[in-house]
């Protein structure tokens, strides 16, 4: 598992949206995102990030405290200590007060054309 220097999130919200703050957990520690902009209202785009500078065993986006939050797409830009920056896009998911969604993926495996 590489050392995660920082990550940036871009979240496209569907219907319903979420009113509360956007929280994430890293290695089960719940934290708010930094440098946030945008909105998690229906149809809105939210952006935020965090300087981790540590080894991420788990990284999740926490669901709302109340109600549901439908997410159309989550785009995550990772900067790791020992590999080139990479981006992973996650598809649709609905979160609620009992769930959180995994947003950690190891650097992609190398591919080649055949």
């Amino acid at each position: 598992m590489p050392k995660l220097m920082n990550f940036k999130l871009q979240i496209e919200t569907g219907e319903p949206g979420m009113a509360g703050p956007v929280l994430f957990t890293i290695n089960n520690h719940k934290l708010p995102l930094e440098n946030i902009q945008g909105t998690t209202d229906p149809g809105g785009v939210f952006e935020g990030g965090f300087d981790v500078n540590s080894f991420a065993h788990s990284l999740t986006l926490v669901g709302p405290e109340k109600g549901q939050w439908h997410i159309r797409k989550i785009k995550v830009d990772y900067e790791c200590g020992d590999s080139a920056p990479y981006t992973v896009t996650f598809g649709e998911v609905t979160l609620d007060e009992t769930t959180e969604v995994n947003i950690w993926k190891d650097p992609p495996l190398p591919t080649f054309d055949v």
Partner: protein, 294 residues
């Protein structure tokens, strides 16, 4: 007053302290809450009534000011909120130029190099997946027959627009020579324009409910009793067509032998008991939770 207590009961001892204190200093008034008031009443010069030395008491301690066990800041009284970690699908975007008329293929060897995933810009088996475990299974499916004609191919899995090859040689690291042959074979068959996979496979495909009940039976009767010895468990997460997604929990989550258990035990059991099952994906996040690598 007869006080019965157990010295080994911590709660009992803590509740006993104020009672003993009150017994020793009976003049403590319930309304002497603040230290200022208590100090003034204890000072004979400022008191209207002259107190005997025995009646001069230290600052009053109200019984209710002693925190009870329930009010304590007990770190274990409010355990951290546990949420279920779910997995969102990973989207593969802009892998191929959309206008291309050529058959384009990208190869991606697995981390332990025993398998290689080939993504193709053409559908192979839309909506379904199929596992060809040996050459005889490939009869009537031109793509699988052609792939089994390549030396070193042990098994073929087709799913939507991907082909996954498992090779016989497990120790070799370089996939490029074999991947090149696979790419050539896929192009050849696709350019013939005939169906890639035997149509009877889809025609005879049982319903999702039948596959679901068969897999659940296999989990309940064979898989879970087997992994329970190591504190593990397996659950069926979802089924789409004949493609299933499972999750490993308990002692299986984060276990270094999880991959072997999955491929040598779980896959084999599922395919023996439910021959129509196609791709089997493990959705376990082996590093997540409060107790990984248990």
């Amino acid at each position: 007053m007869k006080i019965r207590f157990n010295l080994f009961d911590e709660e009992c001892v803590l509740n006993l302290i104020p009672k003993v204190f009150k017994k020793i200093f009976p003049r403590i008034r319930e309304d002497e809450g603040s230290a200022e008031t208590a100090g003034k009443s204890a000072d004979p010069e400022h008191s209207d009534k002259k107190l005997s030395p025995a009646e001069i008491s230290p600052p009053a301690v109200k019984e209710e000011s002693m925190p009870s066990r329930d009010e304590d800041e007990n770190p274990f009284s409010n355990p951290p909120e546990l949420r279920r970690v779910i997995q969102a699908p990973v989207l593969i975007e802009n892998l191929f130029p959309p206008e291309s008329t050529e058959v384009l293929i990208k190869a991606q060897p697995s981390t332990n190099h025993d398998q290689c995933l080939f993504r193709i810009n053409r559908p192979v088996l839309p909506g379904y997946s199929w596992w060809f475990g040996k050459f005889e299974d490939a009869q009537g499916s031109p793509l699988a027959e052609r792939l089994f004609s390549i030396d070193g191919v042990e098994a073929v899995l087709v799913h939507e627009d991907t082909v996954t090859i498992t090779r016989l040689e497990k120790t070799g690291l370089d996939w490029k020579p074999l991947a090149g042959e696979v790419g050539t074979a896929v192009r050849e068959v696709m350019q013939q324009g005939t169906p890639l996979i035997a149509e009877k496979i889809i025609r005879e495909m049982p319903s999702e409910d039948e596959i679901r009940s068969g897999i659940q039976r296999a989990i309940d009767t064979e898989v879970n009793p087997g992994v329970a010895g190591h504190g593990g468990n397996v659950t069926l997460n979802s089924i789409k067509g004949d493609t299933i997604t499972i999750q490993m929990g308990g002692g299986c989550q984060g276990c270094s032998a999880a991959d072997v258990t999955l491929k040598q035990g779980i896959h084999r059991t599922f395919r023996e008991q439910v021959p129509f099952v196609g791709a089997i994906y493990d959705e376990t996040d082996h590093a997540a939770g409060l107790n990984p690598y248990f």
